[in-house]
Amino acid sequence: MTDIWSGLTQAFWLLATLDADLVEITLRSLKVTLSALAVASLIAFPLAALISVRRFRLRRFTISVLNALMGLPPVVVGLVVYVLLSRSGPFGVLGLLFTPTAMIIAQVIIVVPLIASIAHQSLRELWSDYHDLLISMNTTKRQRIQTLLWDGRRALLTAALAGFGRAIGEVGAIMIVGGNIDHATRVLTTAIALETGKGDFALALGLGFVLIAMALFVNLMIHWLSHTESEGRW
């Protein structure tokens, strides 16, 4: 119990003094996760809209697979990305292992199924509302997808935030592909794992509280910037 208190005090002092190392790893956490989120959203949103609008043979199968992959174990993703990016692996020449780029790749793989599944769920409902209208207006597939994505943007935001939550707190994959190198690939979660390993629970908890506070802050900022709950349904 005392550990939690000293963790809170540590977190407070780290934040109050703007500890240089803390600022560095926090910004790196944000950079990696937001980059991964941007790439993942670019893949997942159109994919979700496409499987809402189009009817193809393996559609149900694709949806089931996407749903199942929401539970993709990060440590396995990390291991596979590691083997692929290793100097003796197929993409070794790129020299990407143990760089932030490798961490971004792993996180993209982890969050795409999650974002696509959640986005698909709400776009499908929206599509059943819009179906007759859009068909009678003789729209192209492309226009239908664009309409769904634009009118469903609040739901897509929720999907993206879920992806952010999964990526920012993830440690298994980025520990393996990033290597937790000080000043290069250390982020908040891997730093927490490191301090726990040293038995410094207070500092580990302090970093943990900073992580939670940052996740809260990012969510609040996004809601504030996009005026949710203050105008219109979408």
């Binding site: 100097r87 020299g95 629970f201």
Partner: protein, 267 residues
Amino acid sequence: MKNYFMGLAVSALMVGAAAAEEMKLAVTTSFHNSGLSEILLPAIKEDLGLEVQLLVVGTGQALRLGAAGDVDAILVHSRKAEEAFLADGNGTHRREIMYNDFVFIGPVADTAGIKDAQTAAEALSQIAATEAIFVSRGDDSGTHKKELSLWSAAGQTVDDFGDWYRAVGAGMGAALNTAAGMDAYIIADRASWLNFHNKGGLSLLFSGDPVLFNQYAYIPVSPEKHTHVNKDAAQKLEDWLVSGRAKQLIDAYEINGEALFVFNAKE
């Protein structure tokens, strides 16, 4: 969005371009947990202008990283595994740098009574005889390999042990946390123990037997097998590690007034 991707591509290129002054070194958890790296790395940067990026892993994984060419050099402590690594042509040569020692940690009450043991083998035999809970690293690290060789030197077979022998498959710090939680016996390197904050009901019970000395060696990854390795930086770092400056820093490093490492590199 296009700009964003351009940015990503440019930053990826910059990482590649900056590689001239950087090198990757795989080191063991016990070396890193000792805190010595925080003394040596800034000095290396100051003297050589070389940014050494540490990958902190177990010896087993460090050797794998070296064999795959994912790092430029390794600093580990498991002689047999190092020699096998060299025999497979993965490294150029092995250079001994320094040593520290392993210690036996256990509950303050010392239920197995190893405090008065004369040798490490005797201490282990007593733990096995009383079946006191013992935490093993179980992760194929240098410390784990050392522990296994100590058991066999004591005439014990690990495979025959009952459930008092608990292989946790974790790093030194995590294993110490587990031992603290179960009031168990464990073998740790002195540095990790002294730097460990969550000591709980544990204390240092036995040390000093010469078989417990733990030699660290530096091995550059073979540039013939992996043409991309930064062999100049690896050579510069080796020259620095065996220099008088390194000797002075390593020998002077203390925690709570106790020296941890003994420099023994030969010029």
